[in-house]
């Protein structure tokens, strides 16, 4: 990375995993620009956090299959984007064995969150 301006991650020069991750970060960024900002607007401006209780979520929001599919897609896209971003951060500051260990922990955490999030969005019974 030395000799490169750091205002953003430069596009990897060669084909392969790094380029795939770089492109994936950008495609998911465009999707999240719409999805995450719409999600934040809905949950913080249109509705107030105080009214979105567990009952409200199961009876109103997740009573719609479309909204469940949307929420699950958002979960997968946000985890992809944020964990690829953290991978970049970790690889910037840590090297060698430490980097390998922390990256392994990062992927384990990502897998746990995929399971927890998918479990509640996809398996909680419809009311």
């Amino acid at each position: 990375m030395s000799g490169q301006p750091r205002s953003r991650q430069p596009r990897p020069a060669s084909q392969g995993r790094e380029l795939t991750f770089w492109l994936l970060t950008r495609y998911s960024a465009v999707a999240l620009f719409v999805l995450a900002l719409a999600h934040f607007s809905m949950t913080h401006f249109i509705f107030d956090p105080a009214e979105q209780t567990a009952e409200w979520i199961t009876q109103m929001r997740w009573n719609s299959l479309a909204l469940r599919i949307l929420d699950w897609s958002m979960l997968i896209i946000v985890l992809t984007h944020s964990f690829l971003g953290m991978r970049t951060v970790i690889m910037d500051y840590l090297k060698g064995t430490t980097q390998g260990v922390v990256l392994a922990l990062l992927w384990i955490l990502a897998a746990i969150l995929v399971v927890l999030g998918s479990n509640v969005v996809l398996t909680l019974p419809m009311q």
């Binding site: 913080h44 401006f45 199961t58 951060v89």
Partner: protein
């Protein structure tokens, strides 16, 4: 950045983490990284709290009261600011990556980011914080 230009190598350690050649590009990058890590941390919390909707609804509702409390709303506003800055600056990055010629206008894009941030963000912050002084004690 012209090919063949030699730049100093990034500094290591804390100084290397926060200091890099100055200017809008460095600030944009530093804020992008800080806000990105903050939103990532919230995503972890958010997946766990939403898991409670199925796993322990009473605990979720208790947590919701903390989120909706005055300090919770201040944190919520900071989260919104981090998310909104990261989203806007992220689009600036995507624009420059897809149309490299536009990198020459990165300062103008940077200004658009901040104008949009405050034009839409301040009314948003007002909506989130309003219940603090409107709700009965």
């Amino acid at each position: 950045m012209a090919r063949g230009t030699t730049l100093p190598a990034p500094r290591r350690g804390i100084r290397g983490a926060i200091a890099y050649r100055g200017g809008e590009g460095m600030l944009a990058w530093a804020f992008h990284r800080i806000s990105g890590i903050a939103v990532w941390a919230f995503v972890i919390l958010h997946v766990i709290d939403i898991y409670l909707v199925g796993g322990n609804p009473a605990a979720y509702n208790e947590l919701l009261q903390i989120y909706a409390s005055p300090p919770g709303r201040v944190m919520e506003t900071l989260l919104g600011a981090a998310l909104f800055y990261h989203a806007l600056n992220g689009m600036r990055i995507v624009v420059m990556d897809l149309w490299p010629a536009l990198t020459a206008y990165h300062r103008q894009l940077w200004r658009i980011v901040w104008i949009t941030f405050f034009a839409l963000g301040l009314p948003g912050a007002y909506i989130i914080l309003k219940p603090i002084w409107e709700l009965p004690k």
